[in-house]
């Protein structure tokens, strides 16, 4: 832990060096203890420390594609401290619609408003797997590189969360603030152990896995019975947990989905049978021949991960259908299988070949649409469904009140090849702006949006520069806001 702390402190020093700003003691305070110390030191300072301010974030005038079926035209989305609090119309934004008379330095909140006139808002994309977007891997709290250009390119592709290794991680980039804010190393991991890898690939593996499931389900039955019986007989001993595989038990309890790698028909059917026998929902990676056994997978409640452009000819020695199919995603979806789509190349490719790597995730999805998948399900395949697979659907994957404010603003239909992500927002913080980065700013530059009506600017100039009369009034308002 001490080593960890030292590393982080060193890292913060790098942040200082890079941005040439002083982060101050506060920015270096990674541990809660240190934070408390700082608070007492500066308790007399009337202005609210920057990181303790309530962070409001709003997107206005946008066509909001919530990812739950609704599309709200010219609507507003409001987030507070990284969580969505309101999506709709007539949304009041602090600092714009109320608290306008509180001067900047006295505010206990900060607010960013993004005018997305004529643009669309989608949930941030979720790449079920990727490589190289975050850093070296392992414990991402330690290894993440928040200045990585690959991460910026991932954000430019609209990806806000990705599965990597066994974790679900956000592409939290370090964004310079004035005054500076600390980097939230803990906030990057949405879930550790989001996947439970399992194998049925060999006879031995299959036998071993079935035994584990048998033992764990036996234990679960005994435990459930014990839970009932122990109410009558308090002395009754808890059933023996010996030989119960912890991961398999988690799967049977529905706490994590098991992930199988299975491409061919026979392997897929094995997974489906196992899932139905023991009552769990399998995630099937590389589900190439899924379209030939879609009904069986649908009945087993399977999730499928696939590349729409998978190319494998069928084994000509077999009479049945086989190999890859452009219709795979569409056929599986029609049978009730939830499909997540990944490109075949999961890293960032800078070799000049474009349209095939993680930077072109929506392009991969286009090929599933070509194969008959509906456009709504196509968007789901890179937002809601992969989020569900990783057990983080309550946090990310769609725009709903209470969920994380991870969103992208695009200049058009997400699935059109010409569309660029204009802004990416994670936890209510703007982490990517196309016009502020060197990569794509020159390609169809975004027209300048008029920031404020001229009339308001004039009023500001004419208004006498004076402080608001009483602070008590502000406090009242604050309480009022809390009661909303």
């Amino acid at each position: 832990m001490k080593l960890l702390h030292t590393k982080r402190a060193a890292f913060a020093a790098v942040l200082v060096a890079t941005f040439g700003v002083s982060l101050g003691a506060r920015a270096l305070a990674f541990d809660d203890e240190e934070k408390k110390g700082d608070e007492s030191e500066e308790a007399e300072d009337k202005s609210v420390p920057e990181e303790e301010k309530t962070a409001w974030f709003a997107v206005t005038h946008a066509d909001i594609y919530t990812g739950t079926g609704e599309i709200l035209r010219d609507a507003t989305l409001l987030a507070k401290d990284g969580k969505i609090v309101e999506i709709g119309y007539d949304v009041d934004i602090p600092g714009r619609d109320y608290y306008t008379d509180v001067p900047e330095e006295k505010r206990d909140f900060r607010v960013d408003v993004l005018d997305a006139q004529g643009m669309r808002v989608y949930p941030g994309l979720v790449a079920i797997s990727s490589s190289g977007l975050l850093g070296t891997g392992g414990d991402f709290r330690d290894s993440i590189d928040p200045f990585s250009s690959n991460m910026v390119l991932g954000l430019a592709a609209g990806i806000t969360t990705t599965g990597q290794g066994r974790s679900a991680v956000k592409l939290k980039r370090y964004v310079p603030h004035e005054p500076p804010l600390p980097y939230d190393f803990d906030g990057i991991v949405v879930r550790d152990d989001a996947f439970a890898s399992m194998s049925l690939s060999s006879g031995a593996a299959k036998r071993s896995l079935i035994e584990k499931f048998q033992r764990a389900s036996q234990y679960l039955r005994e435990y459930r019975q014990w839970e009932i019986d122990v109410k009558k007989d308090k002395e009754l001993k808890e059933p023996d947990k010996k030989g119960v595989d912890g991961t398999v038990l988690e799967v049977l309890e529905g706490r994590v989905y098991p992930m199988f790698r299975a491409a061919e028909r026979a392997d897929l059917l094995n997974v489906a049978r196992l899932a139905q026998e023991f009552g769990f929902r399998p995630v099937i990676d590389d589900c190439r021949e899924g379209w030939t056994v879609a009904d069986e997978l649908g009945r087993a409640g399977a999730f499928a991960i696939l590349s729409a452009r998978d190319r494998r000819d069928k084994d000509e020695s077999l009479v049945r259908e086989g190999g890859s199919s452009i219709e795979n995603a569409a056929i599986l979806s029609a049978a009730g299988v939830q499909v997540a789509i990944v490109p075949e190349s999961k890293g960032v490719a800078l070799d000049g070949i474009v349209g095939r790597d993680i930077m072109h995730l929506p392009i991969e999805v286009d090929f599933a649409v070509r194969g008959g998948l509906s456009e709504a399900l196509a968007v789901d395949s890179i937002t809601r469904i992969p989020a569900r697979m990783m057990g983080i659907g309550h946090r990310v994957g769609s725009l709903e009140v209470g969920k994380d404010c991870d969103l992208i603003v695009t200049d058009g239909d997400l699935l059109h090849y010409q569309t660029f992500v204009q802004y990416t927002v994670i936890d209510g913080e703007l982490v990517y702006d196309k016009q502020q980065e060197l990569y794509f700013a020159h390609i169809r530059p975004r027209p300048e949006v008029e920031l404020a009506p001229a009339a308001k600017l004039d009023a500001g100039e004419d208004a006498p520069a004076e402080e608001p009369k009483d602070d008590a009034k502000d406090e009242d308002r604050e309480e009022g806001e809390g009661g909303e």
Partner: protein
């Protein structure tokens, strides 16, 4: 038979051998092909002809019509008979009719950089110069690697040798449909393949551009002299020269009947393409596999009549010490367009990028800055490569007399979401998505 085709080609100089404007006139004036190809059966074998009705026809004439709404395409004897709006064009009563409903119809797509015409064996690297090798020896019509491309609407390819040597040999222009060799070959040789830059360095230890340029110059000089000897003989001025199989291709080149398809990449390499192949020797040349920042030489290329066929490395990313893009992702096609190059097409280098992803190359060029306002993507997949390869008299647009290579599709060909419903090659239905398993 092949010789007959070649001879016929020799009489017709390549359209783009002059400057942009001159080449357009040349194509406009080009006579229709009268090569004897057996007429293929139309969809309904009893019917004397076929009418394809579509919401939109992407006609893709070089200078004329581009789009006809509510269109009908009449096909007879494997050739396009007429194209027009339904209200203006009468459909003969005995023709078979395919009503594509809301879908569109376009000419079959043309890829000028492909290696999937056969199962392999096209990258001999024993010698650094292989002018005499013909890739046509490996052509395998209907091979497994052509099934998806055909279902994607790619009906014509320039199947060329690999880029492992400076002069890889002779490519062949062929259709992707199944059939006999004689049926699928459009022109043999289709081009002379020259590779510059990095790939031929693999040929031997210590290869650098100096020696490679020397190899190319030496060979072209030999070839040019050989061609002149034969021209002198044909004029009756000299004895019949000894036949040299390695140099025969230069007679076609010098006559302008075929061009050099050059595997060239970044601008330094393209500079030697333009200077050596076009300016010094005057051969018809096109930039093939144009990539990265090759667009920097766009103005020179346009001035000396070198078209640009681009892909699959269509974007130049900033790379420290190699490429300074000031951080930007530069689109190659966008650069050529900005620098005024009139003939811009797209290629895949299949199987580096799968052949069926030819239209995606056009889509990606738009994504990275190419302005598609004047149908640059569709033209770059059809008429432009056809003109560049010198086969615009037969393929590349929906014009009477041309091969009835028709693709019925659900919308914008560049959009990956667009699916292909039917493909005809020379009037023969070769793919129908509604029958059996969809291929692409």
């Amino acid at each position: 038979m092949l010789d007959a085709r070649t001879t016929q080609a020799r009489r017709r100089p390549l359209a783009y051998a002059g400057t942009g404007r001159a080449c357009r006139r040349a194509v406009a004036a080009a006579a229709l092909c009268v090569a004897a190809v057996a007429p293929s059966a139309v969809a309904d074998e009893e019917a004397p002809g076929l009418a394809v009705l579509a919401a939109k026809a992407l006609v893709c004439e070089l200078d004329g019509r581009q789009v006809v709404d509510d269109a009908v395409v009449l096909v007879k004897d494997g050739r396009i008979e007429a194209v027009g709006a339904r209200r203006e064009l009468a459909i003969p009563a005995d023709y078979a009719v395919h009503d594509a409903g809301d879908s569109w119809v376009m000419p079959g797509m043309v890829d000028l950089h492909s290696h999937v015409g056969g199962p392999g064996g096209y990258n001999d690297m024993v010698y650094q110069v292989n002018s005499g090798l013909r890739v046509s020896a490996t052509v395998t019509p209907g091979n497994a690697r052509l099934a998806r491309p055909l279902a994607a609407g790619v009906t014509t390819i320039l199947y060329i040798p690999g880029s492992g040597t400076n002069i890889g040999g002779q490519g062949v222009l062929m259709k992707t449909r199944p059939g006999d060799f004689e049926d699928v070959v459009l022109r043999n040789p289709g081009s002379l393949k020259v590779a510059q830059g990095d790939n031929p360095k693999r040929w031997g230890y210590g290869m650098q551009r100096g020696l490679m340029n020397h190899h190319i110059r030496y060979s072209l000089r030999q070839g040019k002299a050989y061609a002149k000897r034969w021209q002198a003989y044909e004029r009756g001025e000299t004895e019949k020269p000894a036949r040299h199989l390695n140099l025969d291709v230069y007679r076609d080149l010098d006559a302008g009947a075929i061009g050099i398809s050059t595997h060239t990449q970044y601008y330094q390499v393209v500079l030697s393409t333009l200077r050596i192949l076009r300016k010094e020797f005057g051969f018809p040349v096109f930039i093939d596999h144009g990539s990265f920042d090759s667009w920097k030489l766009g103005p020179i290329a346009e001035e000396i009549g070198v078209p640009a066929i681009l892909g699959p490395r269509e974007v130049l990313w900033h790379r420290a010490y190699s490429f300074d893009t000031e951080g930007a992702a530069q689109g190659t096609a966008a650069g050529f367009q900005r620098t005024g190059v009139s003939l811009i097409g797209f290629n895949t280098d299949a199987p580096v990028v799968p052949q069926e992803e030819l239209p995606l190359q056009a889509a990606m060029s738009v994504r990275y800055g190419f302005d598609d306002a004047r149908m640059g993507t569709v033209r770059g997949l059809t008429i432009v490569p056809a003109v560049v390869a010198g086969i615009a008299d037969r393929v590349g647009s929906l014009e009477p007399g041309k091969h009835a290579d028709l693709v019925v599709l659900t919308g914008d060909p560049a959009d990956p979401r667009t699916s292909i419903e039917r493909v005809w090659v020379e009037g023969e239905l070769v793919y129908d998505a509604s029958v059996g398993v969809r291929k692409w």
